[in-house]
Amino acid sequence: MSAEKDKNFEPLFDIMGKFTPYIYILPTLAITSVFLIYPFINTFFYSLLKWDGIGEMNFLGITNYINMFQDPKFWASFSANLIYIVMYSIIPVIAGLIVSSLIGRTELFGVRFFRTVFFLPQVIASVAIGIIFSWIYSSQFGVINQILGVIGLDKYQTAWFGHRSTAPYAVGFIGIWLTLGFAVIIFLSGIQKIDESIYEAAKIDGANSTQQFIYITLPELRYEMVVVFVVTLIRSLSTNIFGIVSSTTGGSYGTRPISLYAYELAFVQYELGYASALVVILVVLILVLTQIIERIGEGS
């Protein structure tokens, strides 16, 4: 941290003497404190209450949390989220690793075009994505069912969003579409950075391409894997999945994630306390999972 001290410039303290830095930091600090940190702390406080948002607050203690663990709807949303973690995060990371190592260090023609295409889903609103896919999956005039009909697989035509056995996976598949290209680009740029001589040395030692992948590529891509895991994990639990599910199934047939259940409890049923307890669990889940990923990424 000595580098920090090096960059301390006394002559900069000219607006209000030693208070100058606070003047510069004030707008960001103030708006962050009032509109992010204060409500964030309040979420924890609310989770201990029974409150409809208008009437009197009743202090419950941890009752909301106890009730949550006995609420089948909570467990349903929890297991929906587990499916989304697998399909938004784990599958795209694994598939992205395989695809990008197959491409490897090839000098590519048209790399800019592919990068442009693969990144495109990242700039589209989640609800817009959801609406396109609700047509693709639609039972009557949908794209998938029509293709199945054309190639003679009529028996597989189904209401994709209309059964518990298909709906969560159909929604989860959108995550693969959304993230696979993103993962491939990040991993490719990581692979390009690996020193060629490491591979040369391994080849001389007689390592085959699978061994090279496991012992060189994977460890060297640690940072990139952490980036993709964390970004996609947060998506599968937080705002992105909220938008995708709202605009596709609306949460029915086992597709409702924790964030949507909490929203419905708070803004439709006015159970602010219980909803906040769900949010707290969501926060804990995200923090624990991202910490685990970052620890694994740092170690090994």
Binding site: K5, L29, Y38, N42, I103, I124
Partner: protein
């Protein structure tokens, strides 16, 4: 001489890339083509067919009769001030965090970067609604703007701080010797140099604000005030049966960001792939 193995490798590489590109692009092509079709033609000719004519009637109908022109303007009203404010705030806070020492700096830095970025909308939605209601801001454009500014400013502070810290200290020393004030040093010397980093954070915050759904959903309840993603969901709720009109609304929502992405691609890719986790 190109070896057989290399030819095979290239063939494999390009097959993978092309298949993956088609996989990514299909939904966009379907959306775009679908927004020129008529519902009855989807029923007759099926989902996979070209538009019967390239008429822009759907766009006229969605923009005028279904209020998308207001949603569009509302989205701009929310996005532009958010991006400008967030980045001005961030330029200032990154400056202090990069070049000045002061008490409580570590804590302040934590709150205005990492913690702010970590707090996602669902984490605060319930108390935030209560707060905005108490401030009498529900249905005011300020309601989605203020928290969005906070989230974006924290992200931008992190990006700009690490950029500032990478600058040679001689740069600041030289200008300070010339007798410039700290305010002048920031805006006349640092900001022009930091232009690439500022464009990166501004481009990312633009896309986030434009696409935000949950924040305007809870804070703007007047249908005349909602932004495109929320308007699109209103529309879906009411007219689910007309597929081309829904796709037209989706096109109107996403095409501005697609164009924006094509213009600022380099910055957006850079920001999304490294800035998020500095």
């Amino acid at each position: 001489m190109i070896s057989k193995k290399q030819v095979f490798k290239n063939l494999l590489t390009y097959s993978i890339l092309i298949v993956l590109s088609i996989f990514v692009l299909i939904p966009f092509v379907l959306m775009f083509l679908g927004s020129f079709r008529e519902h009855v033609n989807i029923i007759i000719n099926g989902a996979l067919a070209f538009p019967e004519s390239w008429s822009i009637d759907n766009f006229k109908e969605v923009l005028i009769e279904y209020n998308f022109r207001y949603y569009f303007i509302n989205t701009i009203i929310v996005t532009v001030p958010t991006v400008i404010l967030a980045n001005i705030f961030a330029i200032m806070s990154a400056y202090a965090l990069a070049f000045m020492e002061f008490p409580f700096k570590r804590t302040i830095k934590l709150f205005t970067t990492v913690v702010g970025i970590m707090i996602a909308t669902p984490f605060i939605m319930i108390p935030l609604y209560q707060l905005m209601a108490r401030l009498n801001l529900i249905d005011s454009y300020l309601a989605p703007i203020l928290p969005q500014v906070a989230m974006s400013a924290c992200f931008a502070t992190m990006v700009l701080r690490s950029f500032f810290k990478g600058l040679p200290k001689e740069l600041l020393e030289a200008s300070l010797v010339d007798g410039a004030t700290s305010w002048q040093v920031l805006w006349k010397i640092l900001v022009p140099i930091a232009k690439p980093a500022i464009i990166t954070s501004a481009a990312l915050t633009t896309v986030w604000t434009w696409n935000a759904y949950l924040l305007p959903l809870i804070l703007l309840q007047d249908p005349a005030k909602v932004t495109l993603p929320v308007g699109l969901m209103f529309f879906k709720g009411r007219y689910t049966t007309n597929i081309p009109l829904m796709l037209t609304g989706t096109t109107i929502t996403s095409v501005p960001m697609i164009i924006f992405y094509l213009i600022f691609q380099r910055h957006l890719v850079k920001g999304l792939s490294q800035g998020v986790l500095d």
